[in-house]
């Protein structure tokens, strides 16, 4: 039987750009170019490696977001995913993690899955809790923040590296996993991959396809509200010296003056 893998990806404003908030205090998406969240590339990579190691597998890449989010799906398809699902609906604007996870969970169930693979966090929201919430909503085990992952004998196995210990962990499929940026460099799409991606199916879904009420998602359904957003004041310019042989001593003098030594 085919191993059905769904990879959740996010289309985010480029983290190296000058990101800011829109008037309604949601993330502004106009000023900075969007792209597939870098941390989700690791999820796509691990999903592809698991699929390659399986006898028969299908990798579906799933996103929720505006029209442009399709770019993120194209990137994942050009890396090698088989098909894509795009949930797009005006009512989704301003969804918090609870709304987003509801939509993704329903879309995952509709697609059918044995394994859900996520990145460790998005590079814009950076919460890192979506995989756990998906597991809660789907009622399946979670094994998250893995630096190594494999599927064998109907189980998912992995390694988690914490501050005080490393753990080998496992769960029975179906399950939700997330992988860190230590799980292995993501492949670059080949020219052939990019051409092939153009012919791969991208299914578009709206909230009504998922049986979700507009009031459950978007700003209307959000269970959290950003009330203020202020740009952090630039740090005042410091003293910069060129090391003419006494640089270390000069720095020590500064640290002493500042009472650190």
């Amino acid at each position: 039987m085919s191993l059905r893998i769904v990879v959740c990806v996010k289309y985010v404003p480029d983290a190296t750009g000058d990101r800011h908030f829109a008037e309604d205090l949601t993330t502004a998406r106009d000023a900075v170019d969007g792209l597939l969240s870098e941390l989700d590339e690791y999820a796509v990579e691990q999903a592809l490696q698991i699929a390659e190691a399986a006898d028969d597998a299908e990798v579906t890449v799933l996103t929720m977001g505006p029209e442009d989010a399709r770019d993120a799906l194209r990137k994942a398809l050009s890396m090698g995913a088989d098909k894509a699902v795009h949930v797009e609906d005006d009512a989704l604007h301003g969804s918090d993690v609870m709304g987003t996870s509801l939509v993704l969970a329903r879309a995952i169930e509709r697609t059918g899955y044995d394994l859900v693979v996520c990145g460790m966090a998005s590079t814009d929201g950076t919460m890192g809790v979506l995989p756990a919430i998906l597991a809660e909503r789907l009622g399946v085990p979670q094994v998250t923040l893995l630096s190594e992952v494999a599927v064998a004998g109907g189980n998912v196995l992995g390694r988690w590296d914490g501050d005080t210990a490393s753990e080998r962990v496992e769960a029975q499929l179906p399950a939700v996993v997330s992988v860190t940026d230590q799980s292995g460099e993501a492949r670059y799409p080949s020219f052939k991959g990019i051409m092939a991606a153009k012919k791969k199916p991208v299914e578009s879904l709206e909230l009504s396809d998922l049986g979700i009420d507009a009031g459950e998602v978007g700003l209307a359904g959000a269970r959290t509200a950003v009330e203020e957003a202020a740009e952090r004041p630039a740090r005042s310019a410091g003293t910069i010296v060129k090391d003419e042989g006494e640089g270390g001593k000069q720095l020590a003098a500064f640290l002493a003056e500042s009472k650190f030594i």
């Binding site: 941390l39 919430i133 979670q142 094994v143 196995l157 269970r223 957003a229 952090r232 410091g238 500042s258």
Partner: protein
Amino acid sequence: MGAVLVYVDQVDGAVRKPTLELLTLARRIGEPVAVHLGPGAEVAALVLAEHGAARVLAAEAPEFAEYLVVPKVDALEAAAKAMNPVAVLVPSSGEGKEIAARLAVRLGSGIITDAVDLEAGVDGPVATQSVFAASFTTKSRVTKGTPVITVKPNSATPEQAPAAGAVEPLTVAFGDAARGARVVSRSPRESTGRPELTEAAIVVSGGRGVGGAENFSVIERLADSLGAAVGASRAAVDAGWYPHSNQVGQTGKTVSPQLYVACGVSGAIQHRAGMQTSKTIVAVNKDPEAPIFDLVDYGVVGDLFEAVPQLTEEVKTRKN
């Protein structure tokens, strides 16, 4: 005053500092009630009470150590149902955030992660967060259900506030999902004897300029002279020069020490996200154009292999 549940983060029964910070923040919005899972509650209760815990709900079961996340969610859910708290606070570790998030789903609540400050508000607790690689500060609120909020280390200075802190047993009935994800084996890491990165008052970091794993001893010697933790940039970690557990930045740790010393770190956005809320920042880098110099209070343009050992010697001399 309503109860504020505080999840206790502990290693082998020793309460970690972020929990004490949470107790201090919890006192601003209600009466702290600590939830301690695993062995050692009686001992932990002493330090929890000293920092304001009015009660300590304790549960002990092998499931907490043998299975991931869900048994702890079951326990916190039982505590929340018993106490009907005004808020639930959890330390912002990877696991802490996941426990909090699943709890929020079960309580029908919203969740805020990685708060750096917390204050009482007319409509419930207001959380301050540092977002977009710390270039913005936001204030947010949970608008539905019991607020569930995770708080980053170093967000408050733990205050002594003696309270009763009586240990009470918490009855937990594990659900079907509790034994879903199993810990097969655990290999403890060797302790370096240095302070924990996210809790340290001083952090000394090395980046690409360090040039190799063997050269990190230069960084470690400076750190040890200052009693500091050692950090590393993503470039240094990706090159295999230093462990990922020491990485400072977006995909590593966020630190906010009194003093951050960046050695051979260029200061890419990914790194800045993890350290730019440090109180004082100094840097040594041979590239005068390195973006790290935009952040520093004091910067030395020069060879780190000259300046850093000289600094280390000078620190030792001045300390003696």
